[in-house]
């Protein structure tokens, strides 16, 4: 029993302060939310009803845009039918929000020539590297589909030395000649010089990935009435050449036009995997249904305001905590010091977990979250109060301190568990059911409730039980536990008194 207590106490101290040391050594610290470090956040809502797939596609597009901006820890997530973009620490907030909020448009551009991937790389020696082998064929029943891609022979890059820059987003205008990349897995796998846009995604009615026995995964698409005519013209004009499907400044696929498609339906074949086919179908469908995102809320916080809020929160928290501890020590004496130690274990675990989650999961500590933590100090201290008041009850009933510490813990712990469970349940529900800052708040409140239970059991219990067995602590004049616990006269607490001790 006694040994178990020591082990528990040592273990939690090692875990708490060891991990705190490790966190400090690794240079990790809680990630600050944008209201504490400055930044921009926008909630975007589609103007019309869209499917989840389309929404996810939009998120991917926004993510690409944000990555291009070079924001350190962007957080782009979907909540309900809204997209929430958080850009902490972003410098040029207005521009960032403008770029994020742009509507993406699917464009079909003729491929003029492939361009070497990067100017630093040596240009390809030959022109045989024709990117993803995709083919369009006419006619919905694709029985007569030509096999495979026809390796096209396109002239080598126009500029010698390959000093061709990829067109920036601002310059990616429909009526301009542009150079755009094709990206796979975050890497540029090809670049193309493309002519002005000939058609937008509005021409498409639908697109679906399907499996064909002879050709594997392919995409069947259909066109709108106007779209069919334009697409017919386009495919007639560029028969035997390549056109590129471009979405948001990225070439999604370069297609060889094998024959004119005038029927309003067509097919894209190639060596697609199922995923690739699905993605491409989605891109085309997405283009068919342009998602216009309207900013629902826009919030920018200047770095200095964020710093002020952080400072105010920290100072208010420290002052509040100091007052609580002072009160505890005055009221419970030595046991008040237990609260002090317990809270430092709690705080150190909190710091470690928040830092860890910030590092690995991008969890950001917002102002609401910080308030949640400050508030939960109250709930945490309450656990000590419940226990110590229980202890007073027992001692008043004539038990010795030694006998009481253990018994009252098991009883008080039930109360603590019940109460903390309900508090945790509340926090969890808030987290699942709400949006925005309420979630951050609920997360930290729930986390601190859990930590409270852990600290109560593994730290407070063994420490108080051991203190209760130590004469120095129970009898000391000023810090004596007995005094703090209102035992009948300091000192007598160490021996059992009263008739009720069984």
């Amino acid at each position: 029993m006694r040994r178990g207590l020591v082990v528990s106490l040592v273990a939690i101290l090692v875990v708490a302060f060891g991990s705190l040391g490790a966190t400090a050594l690794a240079g990790n610290a809680p990630q600050l939310g944008l209201d504490l470090q400055g930044g921009a956040s926008v909630v975007l809502r589609p103007k019309n009803q869209v499917s989840q797939g389309v929404l996810n596609q939009s998120i991917e597009i926004i993510r690409n845009r944000v990555d291009a901006l070079g924001v350190a820890e962007p957080d782009i997530s979907r909540q309900g039918s809204n997209i929430i973009v958080q850009l902490p620490g972003v410098k040029d907030q207005e521009r960032a929000l403008d770029i994020v909020g742009q509507t993406a448009e699917l464009r079909i551009r003729p491929v003029l020539a492939p361009v070497p991937i990067s100017e630093t790389e040596t240009p390809p020696t030959t022109t045989t590297t024709v990117p993803p082998t995709t083919t369009t064929v006419a006619g919905a029943p694709p029985s007569s589909a030509p096999p495979e891609t026809t390796p096209t022979t396109i002239a080598p890059p126009v500029e010698a030395g390959g000093a061709v820059k990829t067109t920036t987003r601002e310059e990616d205008l429909p009526d301009q000649e542009v150079v755009l990349p094709e990206i796979d897995g975050g890497e540029v796998i090809a670049r193309y010089r493309l002519g002005p846009s000939e058609l937008t995604g509005k021409a498409f009615r639908s697109a679906r990935a399907e499996f064909d026995q002879s050709q594997g995964w392919l995409i069947n698409f259909s066109l709108t009435g106007d779209g069919a005519k334009s697409f017919g013209d386009l495919t007639t004009k560029y028969q035997g050449q390549q056109v590129a499907i471009v979405l948001d400044g990225v070439v999604r696929s370069a297609l060889n036009i094998n024959e004119p498609i005038t029927e309003g339906t067509g097919q894209i074949t190639g060596r697609f995997s199922q995923g690739e086919a699905r993605d491409l179908a989605l891109v085309i469908r997405f283009g068919a249904l342009p998602v216009e995102l309207a900013p629902e809320t826009v919030q920018t916080v200047s770095a200095s305001l964020g710093k002020d809020s952080l400072r105010a929160g920290v100072i208010a928290g420290v002052v509040g905590l100091g007052l609580v501890l002072l009160y505890m020590v005055v009221y419970y004496r030595a046991l008040g010091l237990v609260v002090l130690l317990g809270l430092s274990v709690w705080a150190s675990l909190m710091w470690v977990i928040v830092s860890f989650l910030g590092e690995t999961r991008g969890l950001a500590l917002s102002l609401a979250g910080a308030v949640g933590i400050i508030i939960s100090v109250g709930v945490t201290v309450d656990s000590y109060v419940v226990y110590f008041e229980r202890l007073k009850d027992e001692i008043r009933a004539g038990k010795s301190i030694r006998a009481s510490v253990d018994r009252s813990f098991s009883r008080a712990f039930r109360t603590i568990l019940t109460a903390n469970f309900s508090a945790f349940m509340g926090a969890a529900l808030l987290y699942w059911l709400t949006v925005g800052s309420v979630r951050g708040f609920a997360f930290f409140l729930g986390l601190s409730t859990m930590l409270d239970v852990v600290v109560s059991y593994f730290f407070t219990r063994p420490l108080v039980i051991m203190l209760g067995r130590n004469r120095i602590f129970t009898e000391a004049r000023w810090l004596g536990v007995a005094r703090g616990l209102a035992a009948p006269g300091a000192g007598v607490g160490a021996r059992p008194v009263g008739p009720a001790a069984q």
Binding site: L305, I315, I375, D393
Partner: protein, 377 residues
């Protein structure tokens, strides 16, 4: 231990109080009903002062030392923001709040304010909210609240019993109505921070209630089973037993909140902190009150209708008035915390507690409630 000489604080500290929380329960309930009624009347007449996160609109904030409200108004009038609300916060932070129609001029206003403050545009913080955003968060918060109440009711029903769940629910509704009423009466702005704080208060309120009910639950198996106390008397005893804990918890919860309100909000000028703290303060007061004066009396009211407790009450009343028992006396008598259930130790009560007559009509004694397995050690 002569209690007469002790101050109320010493009595509190030593668990020798015997406040009668229940005898005036009609008064407490009427008091609350009155406060709620006034609040609801105000809600109907004036409604709530919703912040821009609910109504839609835009707010700008920039550090502008030496710029007065008048300067800001002069600069903004050409932009058509005549109705904008302009404040100076925490000394030198200029805050401008405008209606949803002015959202389109967001960037212009930012530029104007930056010029006024002599700072780059990046130093202007903007919060721009569309008109339907508020509906969405309101709806979400309402759903969360309903699910939360249902879940808590279920949990308390399972953990204790449905009457306690009902009493808790009543206390929660009381807290919500009082807080809303105070916000309507005072015209404090309702922001998302307020909503968060309100939801926290519910957590506190339940937490408080559960600590009291846990004690009642425990006492039910000890004292009440002996037939010496009415259920109401037992609830009263339990309240006195946890009184010090309630006070301590309220103090420890209040200190950080006051610190947020005064240090964070007033001295350092962080508006959000102030929003949080204000709602917390109002709600905390309501919940501390309701756990003692609403939930517990209501529980006693409900329970004393049960035949078992009704007979005890009748019998005790027939013998004369039963004064409230002090926790210390109950503990000395071997009740409460862990003592044996039926110990006949004479009461060392500090008030004129009517102690049990030695000859108890054991025949009339109701059978003790069956104990649940593993409930006590």
């Amino acid at each position: 231990m002569s209690a007469e000489k002790r101050s109320i604080w010493q009595r509190l500290y030593n668990g020798e109080t015997s406040f009668d929380f229940l005898s005036r329960r009609r008064l407490w309930l009427c008091l609350s009903a009155g406060v709620i009624l006034v609040g609801m009347a105000s809600l109907g007449l004036r409604g709530l002062n919703f912040g821009i996160d609910f109504r839609g609109g835009a707010a700008w904030e920039v550090e502008a030392p030496g710029v007065s409200v008048g300067d800001a108004r002069d600069a903004l009038t050409p932009l058509g923001l005549d109705d904008a609300k302009i404040q100076i916060l925490g000394g030198d932070t200029l805050r401008v709040q405008a209606d949803p129609e002015d959202r389109s001029r967001r960037d212009e206003v930012s530029a104007t304010l930056a010029e006024l403050a002599g700072a780059p545009v990046g130093q202007v913080s903007v919060n721009d909210v569309g008109p339907s955003w508020g509906d969405e968060i309101t709806e979400k918060a309402r759903n969360a609240l309903v699910v939360f109440l249902v879940a808590i009711t279920l949990y308390i029903t399972l953990r204790f019993e449905w009457k306690m769940a009902l009493a808790t629910l009543a206390a929660l509704v009381h807290d919500i109505l009082v807080t809303v009423g105070v916000y309507s009466l005072s015209g404090f702005e309702v922001t998302p921070a307020t909503v968060i704080a309100g939801l926290t208060i519910l957590g506190y309120s339940i937490y408080d209630g559960i600590v009291v009910f846990d004690k009642i639950d425990e006492n039910t198996k000890g004292l009440a089973a002996s037939g010496r106390l009415t259920y109401g008397g037992m609830v009263n005893l339990s309240l006195n037993q946890v009184l010090m804990r309630t006070l301590n918890t309220s103090v420890t919860a209040l200190l950080p909140i006051l610190s947020l309100l005064i240090v964070g909000g007033q001295i350092l000028g962080a508006v959000t902190l102030q929003d949080f703290a204000l709602a917390l303060l109002v709600g905390l007061a309501a919940s501390a009150y309701s756990s003692i004066f609403i939930a517990s009396p209501l529980l006693a009211l409900l329970k004393e209708r049960e035949p078992r407790y009704a007979t005890i009450k009748q019998r005790i009343q027939a013998k004369g008035t039963s004064g409230p028992l002090t926790p210390a006396a109950a503990a000395a008598g071997g009740f409460g915390a862990t003592g044996p259930a039926g110990g006949g130790e004479p009461n060392r009560g500090t008030t004129a507690t009517k102690t049990t007559p030695p000859a108890r009509p054991t025949a009339n004694r109701p059978p003790p409630r069956p104990r649940k397995k593993g409930k006590r050690r």
